[in-house]
Symmetry: C2
Subunit: 325 residues, 2 copies
């Protein structure tokens, strides 16, 4: 299609082609205005982040058990409705399990909402893919995830902050991952501009307690001395799969060329960072209960099929098509 | 997944479930704040619409030939580069065709950019699907498409305005289609809120010249008189496929139930309205030259597969994942 149309364009009378070029120059000006628009949207997001914060603080206090909500704060209409939504068989099972549970559990009041964030990590495919068994006891100590936006006038970025309670694994109270963004058209290709892009990220150093670093494993290796023929066993640290590699700062824009694998890893990382920012943090409880998962499912499936860098259109997608029935 | 998690939720100790309900109440408050956010984004879009307008006015003047751009306004660096982008064989053909064209066409300077909007209609699948041969001569008279946003304080909406030059088909100078939107969480399902939704639309009456209405056709039908057995031929007007049915105000929210066909038609219509607003109008020249088509292709393919109402996520999609290489 494109070739055909460029062809028909090159067939245009010179005077017309000249005018088309004038329109293209106007289009570049539009792209520059659009860049300013997205900067203002970013400002707006910063402004609203401050409005959400008291609610997120309250969430953290309830999750960690620092604050016990009042009866009024806990009123929820549709506990029964929700159960009705479950398929009949599942419901039955639930009722039985429920009954069992109530019999079996003497400890009826743990502190706050135990394993709140870990449950979310386990439920969301994109996160559970990274999660290893040895990560789970560590993530039980995750108290909160926060998103911080860059200050006005600073280069556009957002930071994911993972707040931990004191634990036996590392000394950091907060693990951070900064995503650097850019909201300006590329001068060499202004028409590809579609809004802010993540262009780079920076993890953080985790100050692991001795022997607790799950991102490495120690393997034993037999070495034979070439001259003497003696054998000795050496231990060697090699990388280990772990969610905590998420903080490992593989530079997103290294000086050299990137191979396909690194590009894929980066694309996935950007996607995950974005998902934390836009879905997990703002709607954590819905991922905990599973209510948000149904909506995301089809989307995640589509994304899963696509290894290439993705070109989302922020505006085409900014509206849903929904019926008022 | 959802059932399993709701199940595990119903297994939570009562005290914990109570706290989860408190988080859900906080989440409803978040949804209400989010609704305000989207209202401010809409305001921002209105503000920027005014900044784009002078550029769009200039575009219209160049397209219609009211204004001839200066040499400086027509300078474009990459005419050669673009041609190099074409596959070799296509390029060769283009050169030959080019040469032929230049020989064959004495009329080297038509007015403005002839068939600018019609070419776009023909190039974009979503529009060409609606386009009939009899629509084409009418769309040659299309001068401009504009988007107008609702005034502050008014219910949220946008209007597509199709501006026509005087023509032999209808008297209207402007055909309009209004899309009504809603940016507030549904009280019965606040968590499904994802930003403004199109909830209804309104077309316009086209004042067709006699015999020129392409949205109807006259068919002849033989009628046999039951009693007398005589046969007579009657003419009858029946609906006819045409792009101009786009202005036909099938109510989006009728009082009765909608069948599946109407729902599908509506979903498609919302999608098209949105596409005009977000892609065609802001980037017309790139659809004319074909430069925008490549980017959209994958997206359109995906949409094509999906007959159901679509639930786009405005925020997950608001960022692209792109490499700075």
């Amino acid at each position: 299609m494109k070739a055909v149309l460029l062809l028909s364009c090159s067939m245009l009378p010179k005077a017309v082609k000249r005018r088309v070029n004038a329109l293209k120059r106007l289009q570049v000006q539009c792209a520059n205005i659009e860049a300013k628009f997205y900067e203002e949207v970013h400002e707006l997001e910063r402004k609203y982040a401050a409005l959400y914060q008291p609610l997120f603080d309250k969430r953290r206090e309830i999750v960690t058990g620092t604050v016990e909500p009042t009866d009024e704060e806990c009123e929820w209409h549709s506990d029964r409705e929700e159960e009705e939504e479950l398929a009949e068989d599942v419901k039955e099972k639930a009722t039985i399990e429920d009954a069992k549970k109530e019999e079996a559990t003497p400890e009826e009041d743990p502190k706050g909402i135990p394993e709140f964030w870990l449950t979310i990590f386990k439920s969301v495919d994109m996160l559970s893919d990274m999660l290893q068994e040895h990560d789970e006891p560590i993530l039980k100590h995750l108290k909160d995830i926060q998103v911080k936006f860059s200050e006005p006038g600073q280069p556009m970025s957002f930071t994911l902050e993972f707040h931990f309670e004191p634990n036996g694994y590392f000394n950091n109270a907060v693990l951070t991952k900064v995503y650097k963004m850019k909201s300006e058209p590329d001068t060499s290709d202004p028409f590809s501009f579609e809004g802010p892009e993540i262009i780079d990220y920076e993890g953080c150093q985790i100050d692991w307690h001795k022997g607790k670093d799950v991102t490495v494993k120690t393997i034993k290796k037999k070495q034979k001395h070439k001259g003497r023929g003696t054998v000795r066993t050496v231990t060697k640290q090699v990388p280990n799969d772990s969610f905590f590699n998420f903080f490992n700062p593989v530079k997103a824009s290294p000086d050299g060329e990137m191979d396909e694998d690194s590009e894929f890893t980066l694309a996935t990382d950007f996607e995950i960072g974005h998902f934390f920012r836009e879905r997990i943090v703002p709607r954590a409880v819905l991922y905990f209960t599973g209510e948000a998962l149904e909506d995301d499912e089809s989307e995640q499936d589509e994304e899963g099929d696509d290894d290439d860098e993705e070109q989302f259109d922020p505006k085409v997608s900014s509206i849903q098509f929904l019926f008022k029935s």
